[in-house]
């Protein structure tokens, strides 16, 4: 999940009696699965929550380029390098689709960027972990993109039109990401003993951070209930995490790798796997900025923004000059 701990604005779900006529009409449209479009009336809290959620999602796509970008120059073959480059370019595209969706809600691109760079808005905790070797690139595609897909597929049905359309585009492209990751893992798992060890090590390090991507349990949260009612959240964090575990277990088995959880076992009664919770203390520390790579990631984004300022300004000045010359000629 690329948007974690998004605070839902407001005080929770209102009863129909508590709602104004406008709010009731809005909720009816959402309940009928009608898409809400930018110029339609919407509750202020719906707008504010969506800006936070889509913004955080967009920031995650952009920051998510960094751990993988680290390996573009170190990819083992030219083909792997071209594939990774295409994947990282997709992530930039996904960030741009999402920023544009957020902007339809009345926030500007620069405001969103400033919120990220000042640390007021977050990105997914997962990107604060390092990619130490090539197997990590496999694990990121397989597990991190796999977890992201788990969250994004249901969001294609979200109530806000521009967000839903961005999700549809993203999901179409995302399955390439997961497959390329799994393909790397298959090669490593079938390779030499050293390669197999690298693959296992990558799984060991990325397993729990991937489970954290869905966020802590929110089944009793009033905020979550409101987001579910607005259909900007479709499943609870626990539901998505369970689905991810159930999907991933046979994939790990095929690779001959062991998921680092002694409590992991099939529960016949539930028809699902039992598994250990990740360390939520670690999760909150990473969110607070104390993860292994938080400082490095933010530095990279701030530098990119500041070092690129003269290019943005120059191109804008050139654009304005050309447009003025055209007006003068008319």
């Amino acid at each position: 999940m690329y948007a974690q701990l998004v605070k839902t604005a407001g005080t929770g779900v209102k009863t129909r009696e508590e709602m104004s006529d406008e709010e009731r009409n809005f909720q009816d449209r959402v309940d009928r699965d009608e898409k809400i479009e930018p110029k339609d009336w919407m509750p202020d809290d719906y707008r504010a929550t969506l800006i936070r959620q889509i913004g955080q999602h967009a920031h995650s796509e952009i920051v998510g380029q960094l751990p993988e970008g680290n390996w573009i120059t170190r990819a083992p073959t030219l083909e792997r390098k071209a594939i990774l480059l295409a994947k990282v370019q997709d992530e930039a595209g996904h960030g741009l689709y999402l920023y544009c969706a957020a902007e339809t809600l009345g926030v500007s691109r620069d405001e969103l960027t400033e919120e990220l760079l000042s640390g007021r808005m977050k990105y997914s905790s997962i990107f604060n972990y390092p990619t130490l070797n090539w197997a990590d690139i496999g694990a990121v595609g397989w597990l991190v993109d796999g977890a992201a897909i788990m969250n994004q597929v249901p969001l294609q049905r979200t109530s806000y039109g521009p967000y839903s359309r961005a999700m549809i585009r993203i999901c179409k492209e995302e399955s390439f990401h997961q497959r390329q990751g799994y393909d790397i893992m298959m090669k490593m798992a079938e390779g030499t003993e050293a390669q197999r060890r690298m693959a296992q090590d990558a799984l060991n390090r990325f397993w729990y951070p991937s489970l954290m991507m869905f966020g802590p349990s929110d089944k009793d949260s009033v905020h979550s209930a409101q987001s579910l009612a607005w259909k900007i959240k479709i499943d609870t964090n626990d539901e998505l995490r369970q689905r991810f575990v159930d999907q991933t277990v046979p994939q790990a088995k095929y690779l001959g790798l062991t998921i680092p959880d002694e409590n992991l076992k099939w529960n016949e009664e539930r028809g699902a796997h039992d598994f250990s919770e990740p360390d939520w203390t670690e999760f909150f520390n990473v969110i607070k900025g104390k993860g292994p790579c938080n400082v490095e990631r933010m530095e990279a984004r701030v530098n990119a923004w500041e070092d690129g300022a003269w290019v943005r300004d120059g191109l804008l000045a050139h654009g304005r000059k050309k447009s003025a010359a055209r007006t003068a000629a008319e």
Partner: protein, 94 residues
């Protein structure tokens, strides 16, 4: 003056013979860069054979409040649809 690049709406013709369709938007300093960025952002997988970009501020749109007055009048004019008219089977395809 804002230092943010203007917003452009992007339209793609998916295949020869089809209309251009709105696919999304992006920021760019001028039309030329908007086309280049649109190529990179919206056509990484053969999505199109032609691109249009138009600055978002030049698009006029109907407002949701006008939905009734604008579109309801057509609801009562069912005779505009061919199925309004019963044609006897003997007449054959029409």
């Amino acid at each position: 003056m804002s230092k943010e690049w203007p917003l452009w709406e992007v339209f793609i013709r998916g295949q020869h013979g089809l209309s251009h369709r709105h696919v999304g938007s992006l920021h760019a300093p001028d039309a030329e860069m908007a086309i280049k960025n649109a190529r990179d952002v919206y056509t990484r997988r053969n999505e199109g054979v032609s691109l249009w970009v138009v600055e978002a501020q030049h698009i006029a749109a109907s407002s949701p409040e006008e939905k009734g007055p604008l579109y309801e009048p057509s609801n009562s004019k069912v005779y505009r649809h061919p199925t309004f008219f019963d044609i006897p089977d003997e007449v054959g395809h029409m």
